[in-house]
């Protein structure tokens, strides 16, 4: 699999790896995928009182493009409002990382992960 330089950069120097306290009311956690399918992404966001995402962390089990997709996403969502983050499309991630067609599902998973994290946060703060 020939990856773009951007995928390799995110893979070799992943941004924002780690975890946050999932019980914290300011934290939303999204975990998507399944081990049997070969990829699991966990994305966490920390939302300020003004509704802006202050911080994001991820951990991913999966191939290089799954790791790169989630790493890129953590960079993108920081500083965005929840509504803005909700608008991120998998196609934007796939385009930015120049993912080959067979790897587009990795970007879909990343989109699912941010949506799940936002949902989790909203449920907690309903």
């Amino acid at each position: 699999m020939a990856y773009s330089d951007k995928v390799i950069d995110h893979y070799e120097n992943p941004r924002n790896v780690g975890n946050m306290d999932k019980d914290d009311a300011h934290v939303g956690t999204g975990m998507v995928g399944a081990p049997a399918c070969g990829d699991v992404m966990r994305l966490q966001i920390k939302v300020g009182d003004d509704g802006v995402i202050e911080d994001a962390k991820f951990k991913t089990y999966g191939c290089g493009s799954a790791i790169a997709s989630s790493s890129l996403l953590t960079e993108w969502v920081k500083g965005k409002t929840l509504d803005e983050a909700q608008q991120i499309k998998n196609s934007e991630i796939a385009e930015e990382l120049e993912l080959p067609p067979v790897k587009v599902h990795c970007s879909v998973l990343a989109e699912d992960a941010i949506k799940a994290a936002i949902d989790d946060y909203k449920q907690k703060n309903d």
Binding site: M1, Y3, I8, Y11, P14, V17, N19, M31, V32, G33, A34, P35, A36, C37, G38, D39, V40, M41, R42, K59, T60, Y61, G62, C63, G64, A66, I67, V102, H105, V108, L109, D112
Partner: protein, 404 residues
């Protein structure tokens, strides 16, 4: 040390320089370029002599008669010729074939084709260590069974089947026995006087010969009949027409001759390297060897690093040329069917890496690999949410995953 280090000898091997020399001597005007079928001049006679010598070398490695060796384009063609050739010739005696789920695609896809033609195929489930249970084989044999096809050494997990024992069963039941020996010739002793095998497929490029050449052993006593799959000038006693590729055949002959001479020493050295690799990484947590550790060729070492996905590990191990059973490395997005067939779950199949070693692997390369594996497993597990959950004592099976 040249990187990436080649650890994919089960996929193919580099041609031994001694073999390359023999191949090159059969190409140009100054060399032995003639058509072995030309009976009217010295060019043809010399080529025929070289082909006969190669046939003898191939036969000698497996203790067969040179007349029992039929040249083909490789093990895939040999498998096709053996299985379809027997099925089409003996269809009046029955249309049932037995094989196993861990066979090479060249056997499985050929069997699928025969199913489309109206044959019935039983696919045996191997045991968890990859071995075929003889009792299960005996139970599967029916009055209309005409052929059993079982590989000698598995390409993914290196497990060695007990071909001699299977041959006793098939002969007793008067069923023909085909063995795909692409991964075993030159690695495991083969004695066709002793083993009751009727057909055996060989490849040159797995044992330091050129690609594009192979052979099929077709037993003469008791005689095995085949329906040809390739028609033409009636070469190879009518079983496989087409002008013989002298240079490739000579290369295969030389590779098999060298294998006979050097197999014992090669195996001992490679076993030492394999043990060195295993001892260097076995203290890593949650690491599983795929396939039986005793009943396997030393060249093959297939391990799963739990909670790390195989393709990302291969990306991390970019200085090592290895292969993986991960779905992400296949076009089908399915994890290895061989690992699934021996009962490995999807997670471990996704996490598998095959290291295969050979004649040119060095201790220095093994030590470098050990260092790279440790470094990158640590790094990828830091990234893995599954590893974190495992370390927190969470049972991953208790979680409802969203399959996609």
């Amino acid at each position: 040390m040249k990187t990436p280090i080649y650890f994919d000898y089960s996929a193919t091997t580099p041609v031994d320089p001694r073999v390359a020399k023999a191949v090159c001597d059969c190409l140009t005007m100054d060399g032995n370029f003639g058509n072995p079928a030309s009976r009217s001049h010295e060019y043809g006679w010399n080529a025929e002599k070289a082909v006969d010598e190669a046939r003898k070398n191939v036969a000698e490695l497996v203790n067969a008669d040179p007349k029992e060796i039929v040249w083909t384009s490789g093990a895939t063609e040999s498998d096709n010729l053996a299985i379809k050739g027997v099925a089409h010739f003996y269809h009046k005696q029955g249309k049932h074939i037995i094989t196993s789920k861990t066979e090479h695609k060249a056997v499985l896809d050929t069997c699928r084709q025969l199913e489309r033609e109206g044959y019935e195929v039983t696919y045996l489930d191997p045991e968890e260590n990859g071995m075929i249970d003889l009792e299960k084989l005996k139970t599967a044999i029916r009055p209309d069974t005409i052929l059993v096809s079982i590989m000698h050494v598995n390409n993914e997990i290196g497990v060695i089947q007990d071909i001699k024992a299977i041959g006793e069963v098939t002969r007793e039941h008067k069923v023909l026995f085909h063995v795909d020996a692409a991964q075993s010739a030159g690695k495991v002793p083969i004695d066709l006087q002793d083993m009751k095998v009727d057909l055996m497929s060989f490849s040159a490029h797995k044992i330091y010969g050129p690609k594009g050449i192979g052979a099929l052993y077709v037993r003469r006593k008791p005689r095995v009949r085949l329906e040809a799959q390739m028609h033409g000038g009636g070469h190879e006693r009518g079983m496989r027409s087409g002008t013989l590729a002298t240079h490739q055949i000579v290369g295969m002959g030389e590779a098999f001759r060298l294998a006979k001479e050097e197999m014992a020493a090669d195996n001992e050295r490679i076993r030492m390297l394999r043990d060195r690799l295993w001892n260097g990484i076995k203290d890593i947590e949650e690491i599983y060897i795929n396939g039986d550790m005793e009943q396997r060729v030393p060249h093959n070492f297939n391990v799963s690093f739990n909670f790390v996905e195989g393709e990302s590990l291969m990306m991390a191990l970019k200085d090592l040329a290895v292969s993986s059973g991960s779905a992400c490395t296949s076009s089908s997005l399915e994890p290895s069917y061989v690992l699934r067939a021996i009962g490995r779950n999807d997670e471990l199949a996704h996490s598998s890496i095959r290291f295969s070693m050979g004649r040119f692997t060095t201790e220095e390369e093994i030590d470098y690999a050990i260092e790279q594996i440790h470094k990158n497993i640590d790094k990828l597990r830091e990234l893995s949410p599954l590893w974190e959950m495992f370390k927190d004592g969470i049972d991953l099976n208790s979680i409802e995953w969203t399959a996609h």
